[in-house]
Symmetry: C2
């Protein structure tokens, strides 16, 4: 144990490792202790080495861990910041913060996106669309393992939530158009369906066309690179058509 | 601050409060500091007092927090216990531990169920079917706020995971029959549908009948007190009919 600790301290880092350590310090605020954790967090599965037994060395395990830790820290933060808000509000705002799209954006803003090791065409918008958000989650997992819960909480609150998110704006702008329509349909006793009416493109660049149908009447169509996004796009148009407000 | 601390120390507890403090100590291992947190965790919304602005004093906010904290701690525990398992395995086992049914069972085993304050008929099986699991989550939230993350992690690992769960058994018994069939259908290129074909009973005791349809042929039906349970029951029968193994 002590030997491993000393050898880690004394081992010479390569230039690339030193560069990564500096980049991590800029992102999380302090020098990493166990750099290997951060290297792993930034390894997309496409660039991962296969070890024995088919076990791959990619950031997927760290992403699983970081997802849970990030969710807990954001839950705690909102719980304390809004002592008089009910759990429905807290759940909704947390979902707006930790959803894939938001995490992808954060990953770009925080400069994590550029550090990811992956195989593929960097100019293509279609490859690995959630790679950035996944790496951000994996980084949270790495910080948790490297520095502990309290440090990780500070990192998430200061560098992610306070550093890059505008909570008032997130609360004001309810971009979940689908849930607005579902709520409206329930209130007004209307029959509502979301249907995927078409899929286009190749396996790796598939685009979906969704349609909103109210009382068997098609109302609006929308497209997107996932079923969910296509439905959201169709829902957004429906909101405009029906003049439904997006304010909660 | 100091005054509040002292008045809390010196305030006489009622007999009921003392009894609760002893029960909590038996469950979590140490005396609670802020008993009010635990009282809140054990207050079902049916027994909650409405405060001004329609804000209710029930365990729902604590449940939201505890759900996230419990998820993170279990994620961390499995991550470290199974260093060579992939994230799909970890996610699945975590879901089996923290699903509503499992949490309800744990709540009964740990004696939390009997401490919950609620309005309703205690003999009815139908009222508030997830009340126990919700209270367990809220209790985790209370421990986290009262004693901090590290204590809460010890509580979850020692008293919940090691104290009441048999991980080998959980791993061996894949009770998610629905996912087994979905996997099988994808592998074998079969068209699979789950349909709710009937609803029975009154609003508070509704029973659902689900049907599994493969290549437009009905295969099996199942019933349950929620759509999910009905689908699981139908899926279980389908697994037996198709002789699909439930071992992962």
């Amino acid at each position: 144990m002590i030997f491993r600790f000393l050898s880690k301290l004394l081992r010479k880092h390569s230039k690339e490792e030193k560069r990564l350590a500096i980049a991590i310090k800029q992102i999380i605020g302090h020098k990493p202790f166990n750099l290997a954790l951060y290297q792993l967090a930034l390894s997309h599965t496409s660039a991962s080495k296969s070890l024995q037994d088919g076990f791959k060395e990619s950031n997927e395990r760290l992403e699983y861990l970081g997802d849970a830790i990030l969710g807990a820290i954001v839950a705690d933060y909102l719980f304390k910041k809004y002592p008089f808000k009910e759990e429905g509000f807290l759940t909704e705002i947390r979902a707006r913060i930790v959803n894939r799209e938001s995490l992808n954006q954060l990953s770009r803003k925080m400069g994590i996106q550029d550090l990811i090791r992956y195989e593929g065409n960097p100019k293509s918008n279609f490859t690995y669309k959630s790679m950035g958000g996944d790496a951000l989650e994996a980084l949270v997992g790495a910080v948790y393992l490297d520095k502990g819960f309290h440090y990780c909480r500070k990192f998430v609150v200061r560098k992610i939530v306070l550093g890059h998110l505008d909570l008032d704006d997130i609360i004001e702008n309810n971009q979940n158009y689908k849930s607005i329509i579902i709520e409206w349909a329930q209130k007004n006793n209307r029959d509502l369906k979301f249907e995927i009416v078409r899929e286009e493109g190749s396996k790796h660049q598939r685009q979906f066309i969704a349609q909103v149908i109210i009382d068997d009447e098609p109302v609006a169509k929308g497209s997107g690179f996932s079923k969910k996004k296509a439905e959201q796009a169709a829902a957004e148009k429906t909101c405009r058509t029906l003049k439904l407000s997006s304010r909660p």
